[in-house]
């Protein structure tokens, strides 16, 4: 149904972040953060609490504007664009502190994601033109298809706020996928899940990556999950990158161990 995206130029990073920084008051929340995410990559971003991981996501998605540095997605510069333009350009995300549209149904949450890919006008909406009907049907079909991946298609009409915690996280992913991103940013997707759920989640994340040819960057505290699925990992501490490499390298890196366990 949903086709794989156009292949980016070989070698070039799909999401290219170069030296972005931001401070709040005197606090340098993120300093000189860089990342080259190749197409199809599944990378991780880890670090102790308050290291600036979510702030990085907020910088990438335009919630905050970096004071310096550049971000480009598939060659398109993103700094200075509004969050909705960035979503349109193909960068979607989930939120650490779940931000679903609580009063809306599961189906509507997913359908809202697809809104950005549609063509809308007041006229076609109010007159219910033939094109409008076709588009609504297509949006509905896609939404249900995505919800099925996350096993949510049996509770389409339930209000999102009434879902159990784990399902809310899954719904956020389905909603983000409905925007047809090139790059998906997952902010602690496994938070609050039990080991069994985490295992399934790992499979699902790999599954959607392969199925949609996605590129994924995820923030996660569960080291088992990160080490299991991420190809490369970036470690942040006090807003600065302290290590970058394959999981096996990261596990052995003394700086990382120090950041997590404290200096001896």
């Amino acid at each position: 149904m949903i086709a794989a995206p156009e292949t980016a130029q070989a070698g070039a990073a799909l999401l290219d972040v170069r030296g972005i920084s931001i401070s709040f008051g005197g606090l340098k929340a993120v300093q000189n953060f860089s990342l080259a995410l190749p197409k199809g990559g599944l990378y991780g971003l880890i670090g102790p609490n308050g290291a600036g991981k979510t702030t990085c996501f907020n910088l990438l998605t335009g919630v905050y504007r970096p004071s310096e540095g550049a971000i480009s997605l598939d060659g398109v510069p993103l700094v200075g664009r509004k969050p909705y333009e960035i979503a349109e350009a193909g960068l979607s995300r989930t939120f650490q502190n779940i931000r679903l549209f609580g009063e809306l149904s599961v189906l509507d949450n997913a359908r809202l994601g697809a809104h950005v890919r549609g063509r809308h006008s007041f006229f076609s909406t109010v007159c219910r033109t033939a094109f409008y009907r076709g588009q609504e049907a297509a949006i509905r079909e896609r939404a249900i298809e995505l919800l099925a991946i996350f096993k949510l298609d049996n509770r389409l009409q339930e209000q999102a706020k009434n879902l159990p915690y784990g399902d809310q996280r899954r719904l956020e992913m389905a909603r983000a996928l409905a925007t047809e991103p090139k790059v998906l940013l997952l902010d602690e997707p496994a938070a609050g899940m039990n080991p069994q759920e985490k295992k399934e989640l790992a499979q699902t994340i790999r599954g959607i990556r392969d199925r949609f040819g996605l590129t994924i960057l995820l923030i996660e505290h569960d080291m088992g999950l990160v080490m299991d699925i991420c190809e490369r990992i970036t470690v942040l501490d006090y807003g600065q990158i302290i290590a970058h490499g394959a999981p096996s390298e990261i596990q052995k890196n003394p700086k990382v161990i120090e950041a997590y366990l404290g200096a001896e």
Partner: protein
């Protein structure tokens, strides 16, 4: 970008015949005319003159409450100046009808047909008169000017959140009132032959009666016109709510940051909500002015805005049928509770406070009457039997 065209292509493949779209566009108009005729020809005469008047006011209040639902319910902005848009629409329409009659027909008298004549039975003349076209044009002009004002007021919502915006809309309403009070006195009907003839057209929009209000307007508003617009308003707002666009409006209310992250241009949707709501408020104003035969600067003040807010809040911010029910109840209540007139607003005030504490989602929440469990139960039982 391949995938962008993809949804569109999938949409095209699922597209039904164009005729379906044409049909969907036309039937509400037919229905609107049919309901209008039904109300005017059958219901009105059947219930009597006094009750007809109430039915007419109910219709105007439904238009006001349902349109405000778009702003306060769907997008979760809080406009406290809805009556100001009504006043703008009313004044524009009144000006068009009053001075339009003067310039086109030579005087300010009623020139409509039977459909626009209050008390249909004893009217001799055509079904539709030349004045009706002027009235329809005036109603649309009122709506469009109000929409323009709504667009302007929606712009501050680019930067403002919640209660700040509420205060700005309130302030806007007061500015409108002050400006209307500053207009010059109107050309009276008996001055049509003398003053009216020579008055340059560009000066007429400034002569709207000032603090005394704009009076002695020819009255065109009948049950027919009101209920025609009620049906059109309901169809437009209902279709909007149940569409991809409508979900975008609702997402703004639910969580602006998440909506932005999903590609919804939050600002644009807020402005659209204001523009659309104001259009229908303007239409309601036109109907209101040409029903009473007069409109005052104070009609746009916040007292009236509050009345509409009460309807929308009690109906459940976002529920169209809830707003309709609340508009009906709140219009009827003063008639039923004649003796308690002085306690009426106190009751509303207490209802608002208690509602927020006990049932903050309003009577129906975002849902419609037919989504309620009780309704479903009755309906299903009926279906089974």
């Amino acid at each position: 970008m391949v995938r962008v065209t993809h949804l569109i292509e999938q949409a095209r493949s699922k597209q039904p015949s164009r005729l379906v779209g044409v049909g969907a566009t036309l039937w509400p108009m037919v229905l609107a005319v049919a309901v209008g005729l039904l109300m005017y020809l059958l219901v009105g005469p059947a219930i009597g003159q006094f009750q007809s008047k109430i039915l007419l006011v109910i219709g105007i209040n439904i238009i006001l409450a349902v349109s405000l639902t778009v702003v306060n319910g769907f997008t979760g902005q809080f406009s406290m100046g809805h009556a100001a848009f009504m006043a703008i629409g009313g004044y524009v329409a009144a000006g068009v009808v009053y001075y339009g009659s003067l310039k086109l027909f030579g005087d300010m008298n009623f020139a409509g047909g039977r459909l626009s004549h209050v008390g249909a039975a004893d009217f001799v003349g055509p079904l539709i008169g030349k004045g009706d076209f002027l009235f329809l044009a005036a109603t649309l002009a009122g709506g469009l000017f109000a929409a323009l004002a709504g667009w302007v007021v929606g712009l501050p919502s680019l930067r403002l959140r919640g209660d700040y915006l509420a205060i700005v809309t309130l302030g806007f309403g007061e500015i409108v009132r002050v400006l209307l009070q500053g207009t010059q006195s109107q050309i009276q009907p008996w001055e049509a032959a003398s003053l009216g003839k020579d008055a340059p057209v560009w000066k007429l929009p400034l002569m709207l009666g000032g603090p005394q209000g704009f009076n002695l307007l020819p009255t065109y508003t009948t049950l027919y016109w009101v209920w025609l617009w009620v049906v059109l308003t309901l169809v437009v707002v209902y279709r909007l709510k149940n569409s991809s666009e409508g979900r975008a409006f609702l997402s703004v209310r639910e969580d602006e940051i998440a909506a932005q992250a999903m590609g919804v241009n939050v600002t644009s949707y807020k402005v659209r909500a204001f523009t659309l709501a104001s259009f229908f408020a303007g239409v309601a104003g036109a109907l209101f002015a040409m029903d009473i035969g007069a409109i005052n600067p104070t009609d746009g003040g916040f007292q009236r805005s509050f009345d509409i807010i009460i309807m929308v809040v009690l109906g459940g911010l976002g529920s169209i049928s809830g707003a309709v029910v609340a508009a009906i109840v709140i219009t009827l209540l003063p008639e039923v509770l004649r003796d308690l007139a002085q306690y009426r607003l106190i009751l509303y005030a207490l209802a608002l406070i208690l509602m927020m504490i006990l049932r903050p989602q309003g009577l129906f929440g975002v849902r419609e009457v037919w989504d309620l469990a009780l309704f479903k139960k009755i309906f299903r039982r009926g279906g089974d039997a």
